[in-house]
Symmetry: C2
């Protein structure tokens, strides 16, 4: 294939020439030039084929054991590692994210680690929470929900990619085929993943429609896709506006859709901690806020400090550091433009500009590191406007006149992925902590103490989720295995079903020494009885 | 209060005179007469007061231990038992459901049992699935989601009542205040519950807004209620049309809403079982289908048998029994009218009438026990129309020309709460079972063998749920404790939170000998480490 030909799509295990009449190319943000590789905007007829193939694969795999999916996921991780250099080069070209530390040594290992953790969960099957009630003769477990479509975001070309990231791994681990909708900003990265996935499908002898790839659709076809009768559930990570439209379409059709939308990740930094460790706190905040040009879902975009000497000194120190640091290259012209628009919304509403505020200053697509400030009273006058997400290397400081005002600010927060309270170790902030924590607790998925929110560990106890509009449901997490897997499951209950007809996991004999089941209210790895 | 005065509403612990300009009365379906007790259609101002009080109660209870809620639930169950005679009399007058076996000896004990099981779950806290990852320093558990509104249905005045039933018990057990929206067909029953709840609130020293009661709202205010910023989640059991409108409103506001809507509960009766035990199967089916005038969510409304001698003999025997049995009294004129309309839809589409088809024949509001039949080929021509729910004492038989056709029928089924396959014990139906089971499995929440679906045990392994449109999410159950409780929870994650600031459940020391926690991947009742 030459680079002027349009790339084919992956439908039912075949790289299929697209019938697209519209095409697109990605750009290299480091040099602000289009990358001459042509990708299709698939017409509905192609999506329709993928849907039919996914439904057929789902039917075929209905009673397959988790180990089949584990074998695929492990083979896929190995294929990805074999093509690591290619993937890293493509992702770097398409996103300008640093090779190291990031794409090569952080995000790619994290991605293969997620796939292997998902494999372990799938093999293990404890995530299914087999529940056996011997007195009623009723047994239940989580089973596959059916074909899943996954939309990946622009900011994690590996770890959240629709064809390789967390939602993908969770959907496969639950036993479902996936139709991946690649992100338009890194199609070549996604294409290489799809080749690796196809190789793994072949080596693990899975249905060829287990993983399919569409690079892009029209908006209307996107809504049609998530609400199609052949789709059972959807995962989406990305911008709020698009996410809410997909949610409306999926909701109307009664399909679960798991969203990870915007989040400004409020950080409350109390007086005592600024007295105890001002310089370290400046370091930690600046590092967290500017890392990856601030293009993280958990970037600390809203900082609340006291409007006193300590708070002003902190804001001043951060502003200096922001001005001194070279801004990172942003993911795309679109991200840069949206960031500038958000900054404008905030300044027009009355925020003061302490640093930055204009495009440029870095390599390629860039925007000056931007720090804004507003008083607590002003914030509370327009709390919605001052929670406008500015996705990028910037933050809004709120200077509060009292802890009571901090509490009122917390009460006015929308749902967020994370919320942090930094407090002194000498007890001087404890009263303020106790006042703020209960309020912040209900507005965020992950509550942190004394550290910035940008690291998202893949831990069984992680919650990368939170109340609307950070996500669409406060009970689920998009990161963390096995916790993210049940999103793509249905509850399968068996009532009076004859013992030999039960799934192995629900039969009396223990399905394995590592498999936890809830038997008559007690968790056990043993046999029934 | 005389009976001509409008009943007050329960807002923030006070029986408050309603400012309603509209009122309503319930009817006694046994004698088809209005019951002269006047209840208000609350204006928004009243609902608004309830919302504010619920939000305040939710804030107050944020960190309360489960035992506080358990004490309330147990006190409430005791109060209900003390007023059992009153409740049973009111419910019988308002619904015509039999005193025994049903209201006095089945549904009321089931209701208090559910409340006590919910109390045990709340005290126990295993349902929170505390998850501790010692290596990352991240710990998480389920916490209260916030104020919940519960809409109860007409057909279970006790066990699904918005102020006493399964959704109510689950929402309280999770630590949330509840605004109950009573069903208009049994307001007096609901009023007595509210008095009992208030007494329990007082004796257990709970916030007075823990339980509030609105009897009725306008449709628009209902949509506004479920989408209000002070509401965190909603439970609804009832008609599909209303449920879908509430769902649209809640979805648009990003609020989880748990629905239990229509279900026709398909039953496949295979040839062998009719050969082995025709008479018993007729008995079981007729008993299940006509019990409570068929007004159960799990009533078997669609029966698939072979179009052969055995199938026709079965249909004929059921028709005879339907004609011989006196129809039960229905819940209301509206239910009777809707049943007749659905029968008309089915006959107009081509179903043959084998029995019944007209109103009357029983005491008060009644409709003849109605049996319809259609060929498999006809069914497959209009599968949606032939899945029209006829809520009442009737069923549609589908006479299939082959097991392949049965499978095709199963493939065309919408989501249902239950699905059943009755097969012979001599192995003669095993091939057909193996062909049908995988298809039916993904279309129902609870899969049964060899028994009718109308019993819904309150078991930890129960799934009273299923794919849309039976419910709004295939992963949740409305019945079964603790399984129904997490619907009203959010995932609370703590990252690097100092040990003494963690909820007791997430601290190193075991919170109790019966409390299961997942520590580094293993379920345990012990300490961390």
């Amino acid at each position: 294939m030459t680079e002027t030909m349009t790339n084919p799509v992956l439908i039912n295990g075949q790289w299929t020439k697209s019938l697209a009449s519209q095409h697109f190319c990605a750009s290299n943000p480091s040099i602000r030039e289009e990358i001459p590789r042509d990708f299709p905007v698939s017409p509905w007829s192609e999506i329709d084929q993928a849907l039919t193939a996914a439904a057929e694969a789902s039917r075929l795999m209905r009673n397959w054991s988790g180990s089949r999916f584990a074998e695929f996921l492990e083979a896929y991780a190995t294929e990805i590692e074999a093509r690591a250099d290619e993937l890293v080069a493509a992702a770097h070209e398409e996103t300008a994210l640093p090779l190291s530390p990031r794409l090569a040594d952080v995000e790619l290992p994290r991605t293969t680690n997620q796939l292997r953790l998902a494999a372990a969960a799938s093999r293990h099957e404890s995530w299914r929470e087999a529940t056996i009630d011997t007195s009623s003769g009723i047994r239940s477990m989580r089973g596959p929900v059916g074909p899943v479509v996954v939309f990946g975001p622009n900011n994690f070309p590996f770890a959240f990619n629709g064809i390789a990231g967390g939602d993908f791994a969770a959907a496969i681990a639950a036993g479902n085929p996936v139709i991946a909708k690649g992100h338009s900003s890194h199609p070549e990265t996604t294409r290489i993943f799809a080749e690796a996935a196809l190789a793994a499908i072949e080596s693990a002898d899975m249905p060829r429609a287990l993983v399919q790839l569409i690079y892009r659709t029209t908006h209307d076809d996107g809504y049609r896709l998530v609400s199609d009768s052949r789709i059972a559930a959807c995962g989406y990570t990305g911008a709020r506006s698009t996410g809410l439209k997909l949610k409306a379409a999926a909701d109307a059709a009664g399909k679960p859709i798991y969203l990870e939308l915007s989040s400004i990740n409020p950080v409350f930094i109390l007086d005592g901690v600024l007295n105890q460790r001002l310089d370290e706190t400046v370091d930690e905040f600046v590092g967290s806020c500017l890392m990856g040009a601030g293009q993280f879902c958990t970037n600390p975009g809203l900082v609340v400090v006291s409007d006193n000497d300590a708070g002003q000194k902190f804001a001043g120190a951060v502003a200096e550091r922001f001005m001194a640091a070279t801004p990172g290259t942003m993911l795309s012209e679109g991200v840069c433009r949206a960031f500038g628009e958000s900054i404008e919304v905030l300044t027009k509403a009355g925020a003061d500009l302490l640093a930055g505020g204009q495009t440029g200053g870095g390599t390629g697509v860039s925007f000056a590191n931007t720090l804004l400030a507003v008083s607590g009273t002003e914030f509370l006058r327009q709390p919605e406007t001052f929670q406008t997400e500015a996705f990028g290397n910037g933050a809004l400081f709120v200077l509060a006149d009292s802890v009571d005002q901090m509490e009122e600010i917390a009460e006015n927060l929308e749902g967020n992925l994370t919320g942090c309270i930094c407090s002194a170790t000498d007890g001087s902030d404890d009263a303020a902590y106790d006042q703020l924590e209960p309020v912040l607790r209900t507005r965020v998925g992950r509550l942190l103490n004394d550290k910035m929110p940008t690291g998202v560990a893949v831990s069984p106890s992680m919650n990368h989720g939170g109340p609307f509009p950070a996500t669409g449901h406060p009970g689920f997490t998009a990161v963390g295995i096995p916790a993210s897997v049940p999103r793509f499951a249905a509850l399968y209950c068996y009532d009076n079903v004859r013992p030999d007809r039960l799934p192995r996991l629900l039969q009396d004999a223990s399905p394995g020494a590592n498999v936890w089941r809830n038997i008559d209210g007690q968790w056990s790895t043993g046999d029934v009885g």
